[in-house]
Amino acid sequence: MAKVEKRRAPSEDTLREFLREMLLIRRFEEKVEERFRAGELPGFLHVAIGQEAVAVGVCGAMEDGDVFASTHRAHGHTLARGTHPNAVMAELYGKLEGCSHGYGGSMHLYDVERGNIGANAVVGGGLPAVVGAGLAFKLRDEPRVAVAFFGDGATNTGTFHESLNLAQLWQTKTLFVCENNEWAESTPGWQHSPVWNDMSKRAKAYDMPSVKVDGQDVEQVYETTKEALARIRAGEGPIFLDVETFRMHGHYIGDPQVYRSKEDRSEAAEQDPIVRLREKLQVSDEEWQALDDEVHEIVEASVEFAKNGTDPQPEDALKNVYA
């Protein structure tokens, strides 16, 4: 296991900004749940409530020019990398102002300007392209890194294994971020992987350095990612982050979670990364209220923006098929 040698501790201001971002993502996704249940959002959606520290810590450590691919649970990653909540919400409403202009939806959020090369609805489907992007950065000798987010469920796909093997073999500029929430939809880790509680073994099989990370501790996620990115940028090869996190809600909005015990759910609820950071920073009730009011306003404004957005014309469906 690779050691994090230099601590790159974020300042208190940075941590407070992280708290704000995490709370924004939380309130955004709670609003998405509410609007979905009200019947306003087409399709189906997955929230990452409980996993905000991974999104904010990893995306906060990335630099301009870095790219990432996300999963079906992509709202947090996208917001954390700087896409405006209006653009994300408008996408969920299927509007032209959305970050994928209404062509993608919740599972296909893109924002190429900010390095988001696509959230993927095929589990494991985005991994090979992140290796390819990391290869391009290496071939062009660019100080950029390509980051892959994926869950523990993805570690059983063929693309995962082919991607890790190729990345390590070719020493591409790629960071693999395994968000291990110990659920593959409704299937618990122990039923889907022999190494479900130590995903770093997957990386070891490909001789790739792996770092275990507490995904509920945004400071640790940030520091570890920062260090990993610096090493990859310097040409030391890909790194695997084995991030332990908790999915506090269901697989999809409306998931009754019949497969999950009350104990497991309350254990996850106790691991709330936002509560943890708030306690660490000793944020007073007044400060908290002010912060919550601020993000609440942003989220409400995003819904207004989205509702007032432009519906694509039906025939727009035939555009963008070819470049």
């Binding site: 992007a133 391009a136 470049a323």
Partner: protein, 327 residues
Amino acid sequence: MPELSYREAVRDALASAMRADKDVFLMGEDIAEMGGSMGVTQGLYEEFGVERVRNTPISEMAIVGAGIGAAMQGMRPVVEIMYEDFLTLSLEQIVNQAAKHRFMSGGQLKVPLTIRTQGGAGWSPGAQHAQQLEAWLVHIPGLKVVFASSPADARGLLWSSIYDDNPVIFFEHRLLYPIKEEVPEQLEPIPLGKARVVREGTDVTVIATGPLVHRSLAAADKAAEEGISVEVVDPRTLQPLDEQGLVDSVKKTNRAVVAHEAVTRMGFGAEVTAVLQEQAFDWLDAPIERVGAKFAPLAFSPSMEQFVVPQPDDVLAAVRRTVGRGK
């Protein structure tokens, strides 16, 4: 004018693009020192080095997917899938990823990736090394599909495929590699989506792809002895399809045969037949005939293989039927 084999023509297009542009590079199984299982990339490793002629592990998903990722960052990778049959392993990446990133991003991304592959019967490769699967890819919006039948076409079309900003699946045929012809001194790009009239005629149009272009030409020679004038048209690009070029020919001859080596059922010829009846029904004097492989996996034993795969006489029989000369 220099003479190039089909194999040399493909290689020349690759080398020319790599000399012109550092963003063009190759990935595939056994393409480096060995020069590819069909010898197409021989000499390229020596000229361009290990970084740009990359031997890969046997990982078809990652080969295509890494190509997608590099392409989305602005490079122009050309990946080789050794046999069309192995495209099946990479179809998720081709169908769900390469074909859809531009669309799902609402036009933000481009995927200028070329996927070269080859297949074809006639040398007893058996059921897993000779399928003709081009129709599957034509079915997917977002992909372009090319099937070259001659050295000059292979050279000019591959260049255009590499410089197209969309994912292009470039089909080569095993039996065509040794075929030689004179090609232009300088590589002349051939635009995608333009059919070629290979032989002019007046009585019936045979629309053929790949090796069936050559078998149709052989059939046309025999038909000429019987007084039937056959026009042979090669669409060259299956998607986008030069519908007008095909329709124009059929409006002239009033009869059509479509011919390919792939299985007839749901083959590319089914689509061509539909296009012709939609756009040229009033000009047709006979039902459109289809020629393709019989509905069976490809058997190993030569006599069985020969029976399943369409031969010049199968095209000739179809031509005769369209002009009312029975079987």
